[in-house]
């Protein structure tokens, strides 16, 4: 029955006990602040997404994917640049631990984070000017030794903090391992050149052809600069200690790649090439050998199967696609031939202890196998060359001895990158070196500002359990595949193997992100709250608020939060935030009191009203 048109007397129009005005009505919440019905309070608490946590430099991956999703590419690029000086490089070469950690991998397929990073990096390089600016100069000078990933990262962060940074680079061209260890068909040199130009844009001086220990001594370094970061990397190749290893035609992996990268290579490969080693450098060497004219490349590893090889599985897959053969469980014991390589002597071998670690057990009693080859590329790891460093700062493994903050004793000298990380269990990868360089730069800044270095004590809540999110909101959706050149053509050229994503593809890929544990302003809580007690100034993380006076703690928003950033906290853990409600029983107080006043006058007013009606 409709009440439209019904005469409602004045005295019935005031809210009276039993009829509760809506909380949004004026003073409605005074009358009925149901916040104290609540035992659990919903709280927005962003957790650490697994990608962000797994990244060697802790890029805010969820953050930039979210921005890409919304088409805010420049913001996304700026966000990535907080932790990563060269997204266009890691977007090509990174071993993407983020994608292995991606929660989406447990659901359908991991997000192609690296490809999106490359999309952003290329976008950033196309800008006429970088979005990052150097900090206000603080008058302090810092030398960074080495321009590889760790040195690049440390110099970049220090320049942003306002230091006058000088990079000292041994080689004729800056770039370190980015130039000398990564082939052109993975990372084109012009991309690297542009990223290095961005460093110069920040006001960093790069001095090439300066070798510490020869052109500059340890004492010079400490005297001429306020502080110093040693990011010298691992430059010297390991040998396999086989007989005849000095035969012409035997080359070492890293120098082989480095000379090609620097444009100084004189190596002419024969048609049959053997690559010793099973790591990433060995794979790059094998693939590079094909491009340098070899027609038959065989990789010889001690590991018993491809799964044990310490390399990125997809690189191994690409290598096999290009036609490189694998021989497992063998070690090279001698190089046969006198003036040039004719054949190798191989014997069965295995790791005596841990896989991928010394000691190696070679079965000398077995009949040696003869393997015909024209060239051998030995790529069995690298070590540092630290002859110039005082002995007190060296470890027995031949790396630099640092404390937990990358500092050498009490000096203002820090070290970062592979030269520190070797043997620490951390994979020696570009992104880990970048992260180490970043953290070292921040530690150096603290030391120069006279602050105390403290280990991190706050526990990180990484959200890895899909149960903590509401998976009903995420439809299954396949991963956008990065296009690649066909194996037959790519193995003959220096053209980049993997192609970049288009804008549509990048957005589609970013759209698949769960935004694990972090508010991405989906507005779901705002919509599902049965009472109007979630308010927002704008659709943005951090701008949602819960009216604690009114929220009853029904948990609907917590249950319906897709990303799991809303959590229920016991109300008693909060000391404040709930108004004591007096109206439920005090019929002489508050709005109820005013109603009581009305109700007392009711008989006489009612009588008048009835008279008028008559």
């Amino acid at each position: 029955m409709s009440t439209k048109g019904t005469h409602i007397p004045d005295w019935l129009k005031v809210p009276f006990a039993g009829i509760t005005p809506a909380p949004t009505q004026e003073r409605g919440q005074d009358l009925f602040p149901t916040g104290n019905w609540r035992a659990i309070r919903p709280v927005y608490h962003d957790k650490m997404p697994p990608c962000n946590n797994a990244c060697g430099t802790n890029e805010k991956i969820q953050g930039y994917l979210d921005l890409v999703k919304r088409g805010k590419y420049l913001d996304a690029y700026a966000l990535i640049k907080e932790d990563m000086p060269f997204p266009s490089i890691t977007g090509r070469v990174c071993y993407h631990p983020c994608e292995q950690a991606c929660n989406r991998g447990k659901y359908d397929e991991a997000i192609s984070i690296r490809a999106v990073e490359r999309f952003l990096g290329d976008l950033g390089l196309a800008l006429p000017k970088d979005v990052v600016k150097a900090g206000v100069p603080n008058g302090k000078r810092v030398a960074v030794v080495g321009s590889g990933p760790a040195g690049h990262s440390a110099a970049y962060q220090l320049a942003r903090l306002g230091y006058a940074v000088t990079i000292l680079e041994k080689s004729p061209r800056a770039g370190g391992l980015n130039r000398g260890g990564i082939p052109d068909w993975v990372l084109p040199q012009d991309v690297l050149d542009k990223e290095i130009a961005r460093l110069v844009e920040l006001g960093i001086t790069i001095k090439t052809g300066v070798e510490v220990g020869k052109d500059v001594t340890w004492d010079d370094l400490r005297k001429s600069y306020d502080a110093c970061v040693l990011a010298v990397g691992l430059t010297e190749p390991n040998s396999v200690r086989a007989a005849g290893e000095d035969t012409p035609g035997v080359v070492y992996g890293l120098p082989f790649l480095r000379d090609i990268g620097m444009g100084t290579s004189k190596v002419k490969l024969g048609p049959r090439v053997a690559v010793i080693g099973g790591g990433n450098t060995a794979i790059d060497c094998a693939r590079e050998a094909l491009r340098q004219g070899a027609s038959q490349v065989t990789m010889i590893t001690i590991e018993a199967n491809p799964q044990e090889m310490p390399c990125v599985p997809e690189d191994l897959h690409d290598m096999l696609e290009e036609g490189v053969e694998l021989l497992h469980g063998l070690a090279m014991t001698a190089v046969l031939g006198g003036t040039k390589v004719e054949a190798l002597e191989l014997r069965p071998a295995r790791f005596a202890g841990k896989v991928n670690a010394s000691p190696i057990e070679i079965d000398r009693s077995a009949k040696p196998q003869r393997f015909v080859a024209d060239n051998v590329i030995v790529a069995v790891g690298q070590h540092a060359s630290l002859g110039w460093l005082p002995a007190e700062f060296k470890t027995e493994r031949g790396t630099i001895k640092v404390d937990g903050f990358g500092r050498l004793g009490d000096t203002n000298v820090f070290a970062a990158g592979d030269v520190v990380q070797m043997g620490s269990g951390q994979p020696l990868m570009v992104v880990n070196a970048v992260g180490d360089g970043k953290r070292t730069a921040f530690n150096l800044d603290k030391v120069l500002r006279g602050e105390k270095l403290r280990p991190r004590t706050i526990a990180i809540d990484v959200i890895t359990d899909l149960q903590r999110m509401n998976m009903t909101y995420f439809p299954h959706f396949p991963r956008v595949q990065q296009a690649m050149l066909a194996p037959v053509t790519r193995k003959l050229s220096q053209a980049e193997v993997a192609l970049s994503l288009s804008e549509e593809q990048a957005v589609a890929e970013a759209d698949r992100c769960f935004s694990c544990g972090t508010c991405n302003a989906c507005d779901n809580c705002y919509l599902v709250c049965p009472e109007p007690c979630i308010v927002r100034a704008d659709r943005s993380n951090g701008l949602y608020k819960i009216l604690v006076d009114y929220c009853k703690g029904c948990r609907v928003c917590i249950e319906e939060c897709p990303t799991g950033c809303l959590e229920g906290v016991p109300e008693l853990d909060f000391d404040a935030g709930v108004v004591r409600m007096d109206t439920a029983f005090a019929i002489t107080q508050g709005l109820h009191g005013r109603q009581a006043e009305e109700l007392r006058k009711l008989p006489e007013r009612a009588a008048k009203d009835i008279e008028g009606w008559r």
């Binding site: 019905w37 035992a39 109300e571 709930v578 439920a584």
Partner: protein, 217 residues
């Protein structure tokens, strides 16, 4: 003890019966001991709403109760909070004369809970007992499946249970009786259904002597 008022604050529907069990059993025990007693429910709060605050009242007097027909305890000597978050929400201390007792069902310590109490100087003691744990409380423990089928609602679910204090009321009754002596333990004990929880409540309650604590510091 001439005249004592006991007010129990509880939550509508889900803990309604707990509150009622406390006032009913205390009043019944008082009557067995030959006192004038009264127990009643409050309908001002509209207790038929889940989680809404509701109050239950009990009065015990050596002589005839004068204001027999007043439906609210205006000066409660003892206040019981059946659910711990209620400590933040209301002025349950209103009208309490000095030397009162506050009993809370909580796993927090009385020292922690004291910060939420409005006007704690009126308290003589603050008693905390983890009744939900002692009674192994399960939310909506009243044959939920059956109720869902025949009534499509949990409303009034507790009414079906004829047992007195089968759940979290038992340790709370123990706490009230042991710390205030409002009735004798041996009178009330036979009425309690969950006797194990009652005894566990007697053994594990935590008492903070507020006035001595205040005097100390």
């Amino acid at each position: 003890m001439g005249y004592t008022e006991l007010t129990v604050w509880t939550r509508g529907i889900i803990m309604d019966k707990e509150g009622r069990d406390i006032v009913n059993s205390v009043a019944a025990a008082g009557r067995i001991e030959g006192k004038q007693t009264q127990a009643m429910e409050n309908y001002v709060d509209n207790p038929d709403r889940t989680n809404a605050p509701t109050r239950k009242y009990c009065r015990i007097s050596d002589v005839e109760i004068e204001h027999l027909l007043t439906y609210e305890n205006e000066q409660p000597n003892i206040v019981v909070l059946v659910e711990q978050t209620m400590v933040k929400g209301w002025d349950y201390m209103r009208g309490m004369p000095p030397g009162g007792t506050l009993v809370i069902n909580t796993h927090y310590s009385p020292e922690y809970m004291l910060r939420f109490v409005p006007g704690p100087e009126r308290l003589q003691q603050l008693v905390c007992v983890d009744a939900a744990k002692l009674a192994d409380h399960k939310w909506l423990y009243y044959r939920l499946g059956e109720l869902g089928l025949d009534r499509l609602s949990t409303e009034g679910a507790a009414e079906r249970s004829k047992a007195v204090a089968p759940d979290i009321a038992a340790p709370l009754i123990a706490a009230v009786v042991k710390t205030t002596g409002i009735v004798k333990l041996e009178t009330i004990e036979p009425m309690i259904a969950n006797i194990a929880a009652f005894r566990a409540g007697l053994a594990s309650l935590q008492v903070l002597q507020v006035q001595t604590a205040a005097a100390r510091g």
